[in-house]
């Protein structure tokens, strides 16, 4: 076990395109760190650079205290789990797991002991004589895990290990993975595009974004899941983390004595002082155009909240409802042009154009309790938990009062 340090790591391909830039990460000994981001954000490339499968063109990589930039993968003492399992098809499950140990000339009995122990942990003992071809996806994934475990490496690197499994199995394996890490305590770097996986597994989560010539930095925010959820550093992180995504609308704040009002799309709600405290320097932005963020979970039907503050309510025309049993999602439109910053455009991808076609309406989603009798076309009063409101700068998308992500400091100051 060891810590892993990425010191200003970058990757430029021979044709000059940059995939990764200025990544600084201190992964603690025993930490479970998740790299998450949309496709093309460089997360897999970073993992492959840690593994030694991809050349590091900039910066320094340490595993433990050793500089490993020029150390071949076999000497880095790390184990990797691949998305498509990458089992050796001509070897039995036992041999697959024992391969790395045999190459290291470990005594036979020790190999056997380790493989059997890992097989027991992963409940694959009965398959040890089978070839990978005769296993199901979930079983193959266990073998791939087993191959990593028996090595007892300094760190596990996992490249979307669950994304080839069906939804139910994925949830089950996620829990097992979490338990396994608790037991072994091995430093783990885990790549995924699934923010739910990221939030449930990671001690800390690093949100990444594709680099651009103007912004050669991938890292947006590295933080524990709750911090990521409650204090996203910019609109990119705010929009990526959370499902359904955070609602965003243009608006401004008005100070009226001690009270601050949020004004957006013809609505006026009283902002809880807690929200203001969470955004240092917000006092200087009174009256400025801002992006207001409200998570779907911070709404509730006014009829279902005892003593709902009328100053924190909005009335909406319900467009669509989705009943999920545990909760109901209510979709409605606000009379304001949709928030369209570079962050949002990048997150939406191709869907951005569709959004633009929608014209001067902003889509909102509210989560209400399932026993609210609501159908499309209804007029519904919603109360907002304004203590949890988020305020972002509309030009560069950085949260008011937050330390901007690397590479965006200059934009924030200007």
């Amino acid at each position: 076990m060891a810590k892993i340090t990425l010191d200003d790591i970058g990757k430029i391909y021979p044709d000059g395109t940059r995939a990764v830039g200025h990544v600084n990460l201190d992964i603690q000994d025993g930490e479970f760190l998740v790299l998450v981001g949309p496709s093309g954000c460089g997360k897999s490339t970073i993992l492959r650079m840690i593994a030694g499968l991809e050349e590091i063109t900039e910066g320094k990589l340490y595993i433990g205290d050793q500089l490993v930039n020029d150390v071949p993968p076999k000497d880095r003492d790390i184990a990797m789990v691949f998305q498509n399992y990458a089992l050796y098809p001509h070897m039995s499950v036992f041999d697959n797991m024992a391969f790395g140990l045999k190459l290291r000339k470990m005594p036979k009995e020790e190999i056997k002991r380790r493989v059997l122990e890992a097989a027991e942990t992963l409940e694959i003992t009965e398959f040890l004589d089978r070839k990978p071809k005769a296993l199901s996806g979930g079983q193959r994934q266990r073998v791939a895990m087993g191959r990593a475990i028996v090595r007892e490496p300094k760190a596990f690197l996992m490249d979307e290990p669950l994304s080839n499994l069906d939804a139910k199995l994925r949830v089950q394996m996620r829990t097992e993975l979490s338990l396994l890490h608790k037991r072994l305590g091995t430093t783990t770097v885990y790549v995924t595009h699934d923010q739910v996986e990221a939030m449930t597994l990671g001690h800390r989560v690093a949100v990444l974004r594709a680099v651009s010539p103007q912004r050669p930095y991938n890292l947006q925010q590295v933080a524990p899941p709750t911090e990521l959820f409650n204090e996203p550093v910019n609109l990119f992180v705010a929009g990526f983390i959370g499902s359904p995504a955070m609602n965003m609308v243009y608006g401004h704040l008005e100070a009226d004595g001690d009270t601050v009002w949020a004004v957006f799309a013809g609505n006026r709600v009283k902002v809880d002082p807690v929200a203001l405290e969470r955004h240092p320097g917000i006092d200087e932005r009174m009256g400025d155009r801002l992006v207001l963020g409200i998570r779907p979970g911070n709404f509730e039907a006014a009829s279902h909240v005892a003593g709902a503050d009328p100053d924190k309510q909005i009335e909406v025309n319900v467009e669509v409802t989705e009943m999920l049993g545990n909760e109901t999602f209510v979709h409605f439109l606000l009379d304001e042009e949709p928030v369209m910053t570079p962050d949002i455009q990048e997150l939406l991808g191709a869907a951005a154009e569709e959004e633009a076609v929608m014209g001067h309406k902003t889509q909102f989603t509210a989560r209400v309790s399932p026993d609210v009798p609501v159908t499309a076309g209804d007029r519904l009063a919603l109360v907002i938990d304004t203590a949890k409101m988020h305020f972002f700068d509309p030009t560069h998308g950085v949260r008011i009062g937050a330390t901007p992500p690397p590479g965006m400091e200059a934009m924030v100051q200007s």
Binding site: K74, A79, R147
Partner: protein
Amino acid sequence: MGTTPSLADHDTTGTSSDGGGPNGGRLGALRTVAAVAAIAAIIVVLAVSASYLRDENANRLLQVLLAIALGVVGVWAFYWAMDRGVSALPEALSERVRPIVFVGPAAVILGVYLVYPAINTIIISFMDRQSENFVGVDNYIDVFTKSDTLTSIRNSILWVIIVPVITVAIGLAFATLVDKLSKRSEASAKSLIFLPMAISFVGASVVWGFVYSFRPAGFGNQIGILNAIWTALGNDPINWLSVQPWNNAFLMVIVIWAQVGFAMVILSSAIKAVPSEIVEAARIDGASEIQLFWKVVFPSVLSTVVVVWTTLVITVWKLFDIVYVMTGGRDGTSVIAERMVTEFFKNFNFGAGAALAVILFVAVTPVMVINVRRFQAEEAIR
């Protein structure tokens, strides 16, 4: 035909020829006759065109055009007419006849050009040199007792053991090495190595005839590169193709040279098909490049290696041209296939030639079976 009943009649004849009224039955019969007539017409056309193609005085260009038309349109028309004819038959019958009609022509051609000659060869192998009298297994006894045929059998076995193994080994080495090159250099290296494949064995023999070319000392400069080097080192020139038993090895080199490209191209694509994740997983597991090759890549391409090897075994068993052109089987270089041609067309000993042909056939068969089995197993995996 404008009335409703006749329309209904028309319908029934369309679906089944025996179920309709008297009117429908007549129409059905008419259709059958028409279909048979169409088939007959097409067969006549085919026969007439075939005889025209044999006419030596006819216009060559017309013949060529006709041959192409026959090959493309004629075959299509034949099958189309057969299909129509079969469809006109009563349903129960037509479904049974249909497979025969479609497979039939191919089966007949296969029988006439493949099965019959094979059986005939076996029969001839039990007859004397003019194929007049039955001589039992005399021809086979001759093959296994005469020294020249024994030499050819020994040589063929050596060829089959040595050449495919070396060719596959070199092909595999090249395939592995070119895989490490950049895309462009890989393409050019591959085409260079593959180039000899484009040359026929006879052409290759001519090329290598120059390499091994020999002039006795004092009869001019050595134009063969081998002798040129050899004499430049101060030795007397050597007639390489007469040096027993090494002349066999010199001939084998030619086949290896010509076939390595084939082995390399097939094995190279097999190596490329090994998932990169598996290779990466092995690297992370701690494999050196050599361990990676032998423990991961080689087992993954093993089935392809077997296919290439068996294909080469068959090629080498049947090898005739290189030996025939280079040495004509002199100086202990003959092989079975070369012996066979010599017996047939030089010695006009049909019995002996046929016996050698049968031996060759028997020798190739098991390899063929392995190859087909392997191929089917591959298909089953996909």
